[in-house]
Symmetry: C2
Subunit: 443 residues, 2 copies
């Protein structure tokens, strides 16, 4: 059992909030330990492109240690934190190690919210981390391979039906990217399949897609999606998910091998075990200064935070970035003994891309759609990507996709199991070969 971080600030989580907190603390020269169960920061807004073979997983992931090269005050630690005791100022890792801190910033992010709908947690795909995106990509590619050899038309129809639950930005972008894949890649690469038989269905419980956008852009997004051949069903609830179907309110059923759950965000699971007060969707309740009431040395930022007085903040990168920065600033203020500053969200706008030359964007009072919005989306996302090489490679891939209508990156790589019945479940563990190079007496 190792002890680390005594007297330090610990930042838990390498998402947008954690990354920006660490940068602030590092710039101030504060002794900081940055902890995450992954060794990279992932640019989550582009997960749907990884899922549809437009980008590689590593192109939107940036190693934490590289980020810290010029940030000498911050150390990184790869560890899965499983619980915490704020009174004792300690976190516990899955390995049984203790991580002590003077002050803590919790930025453990979100996870999919399934609203208790039966089957949703176990039987759907999510887009909440890089492994999700990779697993979904491999699944989509495998489903098409199975469809090629399926002889039963009912089975084949289910294999080429993709249901997306949730009409927010994630659902809309995923649907658009799948439609582009169907329209441009399937006819060339899966000649035995009838691309027009491939169904992409977006199901949204609310009355409209993209609720945070102004009405004319919502309508435009819907029209764009429908022109791309996506079925949009608003005002429709999913009541249950089975291994072969999505069951809708009113009794309708859709046979499918792929349900993508993009219906809402809750706090990541670990938040419940940190000994801190929780609120709606398992999030951690904080004062407007992002400080936890009763635990003045603990701050919370990003999707895991439920800020008193601004409970309805959108769960987007900009909020996480700004909260991460404020949490770090308030840690610095607390150390200096100066008054803390409350969180005020500066809305820089919203964007969602539907596909090739189609997007919607609100930037201040400017509303954009079509090609202009798409270019704005492209530039903003390139600028936000961490790391010059990533930007360069993403640019090469996007240019290639745009010019050729192609998605080149379709190799099924990764040891996760096929979620189709054809492959024996036993395969999962044998493929992974869990050989333990146990260091025995040394450990």
């Amino acid at each position: 059992v190792h002890d680390a971080g005594q007297g330090k600030v610990v930042v838990l989580g390498a998402g947008f909030a954690g990354l920006n907190a660490v940068r602030k603390l590092g710039a101030a020269g504060v002794d900081t330990l940055w902890v995450d169960a992954r060794n990279y920061h992932c640019f989550l807004p582009l997960l749907y492109q990884v899922a549809t073979a437009g980008l590689e997983p590593q192109e939107i992931a940036y190693p934490a240690r590289s980020i810290l090269r010029r940030v000498r005050a911050v150390e990184f630690r790869l560890a899965r934190v499983v619980s915490g005791d704020p009174a004792a100022r300690v976190l516990r890792t899955a390995d049984g190690d203790a991580i002590h801190y003077e002050q803590l910033i919790v930025a453990t992010g979100g996870a999919a919210e399934d609203f208790g709908i039966p089957g949703a947690r176990e039987l759907t795909f999510r887009l909440y981390d890089l492994e999700d995106a990779r697993a979904l990509r491999n699944h989509v590619l495998r489903v098409l391979e199975h469809a090629v050899v399926a002889t039963d038309p009912v089975e084949r129809a289910a294999l080429v039906t993709f249901v997306i639950v949730g009409g927010g930005a994630t659902g809309v972008e995923m649907a658009g990217a799948l439609a582009e894949f169907r329209n441009h890649v399937v006819p060339r690469d899966y000649r035995a399949l009838d691309a027009s038989a491939m169904r992409i269905v977006v199901i949204e419980a609310g009355p409209e897609l993209l609720p945070p956008f102004p009405p004319e852009l919502r309508a435009r997004a819907r029209r764009d999606l429908e022109e791309f051949g996506v079925e949009v069903r608003t005002g429709t609830r999913v009541e249950r998910v089975t291994a072969t179907e999505a069951l809708l309110a009113g009794g309708a059923r859709i046979s499918t091998a792929t349900i993508i759950w993009a219906a809402g965000i809750r706090a990541s699971a670990v938040a419940a075990n940190l000994g801190l007060p929780t609120g709606r969707s398992g999030r951690l309740l904080v004062e407007p200064t992002l400080r936890v009431p009763g635990h003045p040395h603990v701050f919370v930022a990003g999707d895991v935070a439920l800020v008193e007085g601004s409970e309805r903040l959108p769960q987007v990168a900009q909020v996480a970035i700004q909260q991460g920065e404020l949490a770090a600033d308030n840690v610095l203020r607390a150390r200096r003994g100066t008054p803390l500053v409350p969180f005020v969200y500066r809305d820089k706008g919203s964007m969602a891309t539907i596909g090739r030359s189609r997007a919607v964007a609100v930037i201040g009072r400017v509303k954009l759609d079509g090609v202009l919005a798409w270019w704005a989306w492209l530039v903003v996302h390139l600028v936000m990507l961490v790391g010059f090489r990533n930007r360069l490679v993403v640019l090469v891939n996007w240019a290639w996709n745009y010019l050729t209508f192609d998605r080149g990156l379709r190799a099924i790589v990764g040891a996760e199991p096929d979620r189709l019945p054809a492959d024996a479940a036993g395969d999962v563990c044998s493929a992974a070969e869990p050989v333990s190079l146990n260091l025995g007496p040394h450990r």
Copy 2:
């Protein structure tokens, strides 16, 4: 149960031999089914770069279906063939499907040969496919993370000791790439580690590294490796591998968490189940025309072939490429009823890269070393890579690595288990979430 490929030529395997056979058959317009358990062709000579975070897995993998876009006569089928009956002209897949053929080309490639050394099969890493390379990369990155927090100096020393068994091209290239990683990446990203304590040991049973090269180049390669800080032990046998040690003949032991097995090649496992005669290392015995004696409709090409009269062919890409082409040509000749042609290897030369500006190469009578050999190696490998985009992205990455001494792609991505004791073995299956979207009655 599906039936496919009746009357067709079936090519089994998407390596160099299979790829080149398929191209020939496709160009001749012959109805062909190309079958592999992976949906891509992988450029195996660069696996060691994936394993050391110089390249992305997808940059050296090219989707089979993209390769076939302009090859209308050839269909691809993703299937794991588990057995075959050459008399009935049928292959069986893991799903229980039958694949019938008129003529068959077996090009299932090789696997690591462990010579029955205890522990080698279960406890070492290999570099024989893309999943191997990805698993090894993730392991190396995790081992370094464990070393950062290790408090026991004996444990830490084992964690930063990398043993490579085999001094052929794979072993030498892997050792060189690991040495570059240690020399240029570790000091910048793992400041808590002493890079000079990181040991890279190459163990070769024979008297010299790179046996197929001329003596002066062998000596040069050894000198280059040693200058990079690699320990080279020739004339040394590994007798046993345990979870924590490599045991050498004579009683010496090396404590290590990472043993990379690059000591030899045998036939891939499926070769034994195809009902065909086998020889040394499980390979399939063929006549000089690559035809199986007694089964005139079956041909064998690449690492899985043991050609009568040329048993000592090197197991390299060039042999596989030339045999794949000849097997296809001989299939065409057999269909036309013209005499078959025997295999004659045209040696185009050999190369091995040791690291930054260091390589050795023999091209015809020309022997190169140092910078010149390195550039030759670079150009040849870029030209051989399938797919313009892959070449472009590889070039960008290589240029970046060269100019910055960096390896940017160090995110640990993938669901395979950590092979270290710290992480619970139970994690393996939970991480993979083997959800079966069973299509029930349809299947």
